[in-house]
Symmetry: C2
Subunit: 642 residues, 2 copies
């Protein structure tokens, strides 16, 4: 990529979502690819390609639906406990699979098992429970209507009747129906074979070691899995570097041998255009949309080459997933003969304003919580590169291209990822700490689930006051009083003591600038003296930021504006030499292999409602205590009973 390429590319035309979809679909033949015969064993999840009529009657003969005696209804008319009808037994017993030889004649009864064929002459079956046996004769103690306890031939389904219609999604019940009429196989739509190719020099396959500047290929596995979920057969080509010959060969083979090709990576406008050139060369009409007004997902590229869809998904996994599900999957489902994916929407209110780009259809992942005024949808996005946001989200909401924001309090609809909202035993919103995992593990041992959303200390306190969560983890230092957390509680809340985290300064152990550094103040002094020495700060509002600003006493050394949002990002920046020093907590420093100068112990506690204390909350408090050993191992100091 050159900077002139960067400049040229920015003029590519961005289509609206609707226009892009219309062009993509317009260039394809939207129908199932073809049918194949599949045996009963392989039919679950497949779609019938032809309507099936019953080739035989089911049941094939009149049969008994109970254990008892085949009789003539007229023989037992008026029978009762007090005045039974007395019958002789026909000298034959009808089990399942027994073809009756003798007719039932007046005054007689033939023993018959459930499922046994009704013998000639009989027109009812008396249940064994309504008979008794005395002196070689059968006493029938209840009257029977003609046809009683008989399932007549063809009453389930008659020969020639439609059993299942083309387009039916087959499950166990449908497999049973096919088996009942003797079908050993069925014609179903064949699964589209879809090539999955990740492109990019930066990609490393999961399981291998990461090189510097490299990341793991998550798009390949996620797209392949999403294809399976949508009735397609993924053909995995793996991650291929941006080398023209290798990439061209893979793309050509994929297009020649598969029904569709999905590439990912290399679609942002600044990336090399090797992939586009190759896609264009696959045939008519080629690329029909490059750049779609979606967020995330703008770099999406849609092509149709010789009747086959060829798609270049954006490189970031969440962008790739949203564009795949919104635009690509519906088309692949038609090729697979599957019905539209049934989306389940639930109403919810947004607690805070969600800004949105005017002119782009925006998808925002949200976690649902129950508030006193109904369901609330909290955005959980950590940026379009954050694949773990999926773990916390119940679904997503869509902001129209014509809207520049959803104001706080807007009632909207959330499309669920799964048919059910996972309702956790406890909802935790506030500052996140790795120690929280140890507590949630203990809760899990007690059969309780917790959903934890990182909203920051103040965000968590607000949600707790609004009644949208049960627990708000906070670590807020009041500079006036020098005390943690309690000054921020306000009325109606109390504090469950959590643990102490040692904050300190980190540097690379081999950095000559800090050789023999003796204290936090010593380190800051050395750093400020060297204009080439870069710090890494923390975001405004973080507890750690307060400590840093106190240490710097108003100085803003180089790197001050580098303000990541987590302890780990600080450690990574120093370890990777993007910065030389910063403040983080002891366990994170140790994990990153950095030298650590302790500075101050921070209090990480839990704000909860003062009344009443439910069972789940009591279990949470117990879990905090039980997690003490785990917390110590991580490097935290349990606070004990406050």
């Amino acid at each position: 990529m050159t900077s002139s390429a960067l400049v040229q590319d920015q003029f590519l035309k961005v289509l609206s979502r609707e226009e892009a979809i219309a062009r993509f679909r317009g260039a394809l033949e939207l129908r199932p690819l073809g049918a194949e015969s599949v045996r009963l064993e392989g039919l679950v999840g497949r779609v019938l390609a032809e309507t099936v009529a019953a080739p035989v009657d089911a049941p094939p003969f009149d049969r008994s639906v109970v254990d008892g005696f085949a009789v003539l209804a007229s023989d037992v008319a008026g029978a009762s406990e007090e005045s039974p009808a007395w019958l002789a037994l026909t000298p034959e017993t009808i089990a399942c699979g027994t073809q009756p030889r003798l007719p039932v004649i007046a005054g007689h009864a033939t023993p018959i098992a459930t499922g046994g064929p009704i013998p000639r002459g009989a027109d009812a079956v008396v249940m064994i429970e309504h008979t008794r046996f005395e002196n070689g004769r059968l006493a029938v103690m209840r009257a029977s209507a003609p046809g009683q306890n008989i399932s007549f031939a063809g009453s389930d389904i008659a020969r020639g009747e439609t059993l299942l219609r083309r387009g039916t999604l087959l499950g166990s019940r449908e497999v049973g129906m096919l088996a009942a009429v003797g079908a050993a196989e069925a014609k179903v739509w064949r699964k589209p074979r879809v090539a999955v190719i990740s492109t990019g020099d930066e990609l490393v396959a999961p399981g291998e070691a990461l090189r510097p500047a490299a990341i793991y290929d998550s798009n390949g596995p996620i797209v392949a899995a999403a294809l399976e979920e949508n009735g397609c057969e993924p053909v995995r080509f793996g991650a291929i570097p941006d080398v023209a010959t290798a990439l061209a060969a893979a793309i050509r083979e994929a297009h020649a041998t598969c029904d569709a090709v999905i590439l990912s990576g290399g679609t942002s406008k600044g990336a090399g255009d090797l992939t586009y050139t190759m896609v264009e060369s696959l045939g008519w009409p080629g690329i029909i949309a490059h750049g779609v007004a979606l967020k995330p997902g703008k770099p999406l590229c849609l092509a149709v080459c010789e009747g086959k869809p060829v798609v270049i998904l954006p490189g970031f996994p969440t962008s790739a997933m949203f564009t795949f599900h919104d635009i690509v999957a519906p088309v692949l489902r038609i090729l697979a003969g599957l019905p539209e994916r049934a989306e389940i929407g639930v109403p919810a209110r947004v607690p805070t304003r969600i800004p949105s780009d005017l002119g782009r259809t925006e998808f925002v992942m949200v976690a649902l919580a129950e508030g006193p005024e109904g369901r609330v949808a909290h955005p959980v996005g950590k940026g379009s590169g954050a694949v773990t946001a999926f773990a916390q989200a119940d679904g997503f909401l869509t902001i129209d291209a014509l809207s520049d924001a959803l104001p706080a309090g807007t009632q909207t609809e959330v499309t669920l990822f799964a048919p059910h909202i996972a309702a956790p035993s406890l909802t935790i919103m506030g500052s996140h700490c790795v120690g929280l995992d140890a507590v949630i593990d203990r809760l899990s041992d007690r059969g309780l689930t917790a959903r934890s959303l990182a909203l920051g200390s103040l965000g968590g306190l607000s949600a707790l006051k609004r009644g949208e969560c049960d627990i708000a983890p906070i670590h807020l230092l009041d500079p006036q009083s020098g005390t943690y957390n309690t000054p921020f509680l306000g009325e109606g809340l109390r504090l469950v003591p959590g643990w102490r985290r040692m904050q300190g300064l980190v540097h690379r152990a081999d950095d000559p600038r800090f050789a023999g550094v003796g204290s936090v103040d010593d380190l800051v002094a050395r750093a400020l003296a060297d204009p080439d020495c870069l710090m890494v700060n923390r975001n405004q509002g973080a507890g750690t930021r307060v400590l840093i600003d106190l240490l710097l006493k108003g100085a803003k050394p180089p790197g001050y504006w580098n303000q990541p949002r987590s302890h780990n990002a600080v450690a990574a920046a120093v370890a990777q030499e993007r910065a030389d020093w910063g403040m983080t907590i002891a366990p994170v420093a140790a994990a990153a292999g950095l030298a650590f100068l302790p500075h101050a112990e921070e209090h990480y506690d839990f704000a909860v409602s003062a009344t009443p204390r439910g069972e789940a909350l009591a279990a949470f408090e117990a879990a905090v205590t039980e997690a003490a050993a785990d917390l110590k191992r991580i490097g935290f100091t349990p606070a004990g009973k406050g």
Copy 2:
């Protein structure tokens, strides 16, 4: 089976549903069977057996989320269209996978692609859209905040943080999360291997020819498919005859090699007790429930042998399915580590009284329809042997053991079979005719769907008048006027002409009693003269029954009380020599290979609301016309415009 065995067996103890479940669960260790490592490619639908913590930071370094230029935020403070900040380019371009070599120093900018690592010194990325290039220098036309367009290391997930918890059901999103932190495989609960054995001399495998008195094995395929749907691996043993040695060997092998055994058939109290004896011999504690107060499903037998569940499901497919889903599947899901199946219930009203056995928990399959007063649940059961009832049912309702009926109008809850109610374009309730399939096929060509429920002519008319269906197919002869259907319409309904079906008498062509028979009256006269000659009648209320009674002029010959509910059952009874003559329609007689004496043409028409005529109904009328050729081929005479 002997009749004395029949008598003894009736004293087996029937347990309540709750007691049977408690005993079954109490005898088992209810926990997942064990874990296994599975590669990413095989993880969809599996359940995590251990909590996964991120082994690396994701992203592993600070990276750009846009295409643009890495800068110092302080260099572009206050930049605007009118007054851009002018920067020199660092002589390096950062693509994905490029490890930066040069720091960004004041007054400089480094071109960077989406996903590229942020070079040392930079604390923001300016989007390419907000820059222009002039005379070798970069004009930045918008200010950037520190951190803008940077995804910091570990901001998605930090090393050591919990990524996914034990017990998580894995889908594409979770597979993506695992890949993003470099996991190539995950520990998941292994799938229980469950043996599926159908027992019974009467069973024939689908695909083979039916013997007399035999039926197809549908329980084997349906149970195997239901096991797949519940996270188990079915091990298919096929259908095994009730031969002690073969059956014993199969059951022993199944118990030795699998985690659970599901037998079906042979459980009714009257059947041979070969299977029970063998199950008892498998080990401690053996059978713990035999007979459960369920309808359908009373003959269910539950055993636990040496820690493994061994279940004998009832022989009828619907009974087998209800007991499997209600009692067996929840236990197998625990062994598979799966969460409880998420059942979706919807409220609905029952239109007519549904009787129920006191003391038995009863499951009633229902089809849902929208009525003017809300959702209505129509029972669709055709008896517990009727597997095709599943095709018409949206779900089932449960009647408590303490209740002897649901009165008409009861508001109840329907548990859906699938998460969505299939809302057809048209709901058809009334008399069923095989010709209707031809019409629905034509509708389907127009993209419309129809749900057809067989409620009989009068049942359909009532439902239509209550507004619960769109179309009521009827064939009702008014004996006074001798005209069909119109006298029954009442106010507000009109008739769409359907077709004529020739009714007539059938007999076996080689039956000497009817050699050379010349007319319907001749046949009836010969039949009445022979006391060994058996008729087969039709049910009270059927149009055909009216014709038969008119022919018989008050006579009730042998077989009169044999009153099946369908044209096919009549033909099957005669063909299989369970009766010698009866009345059915011409195409059914032909399909059964019977001699046919035509008697009278019956009018099968459609009652619909007189106003207004919607698009779907217009399409239906057109489809009736279009189906004319198909109807003629079947043997019906289209009525044409009435």
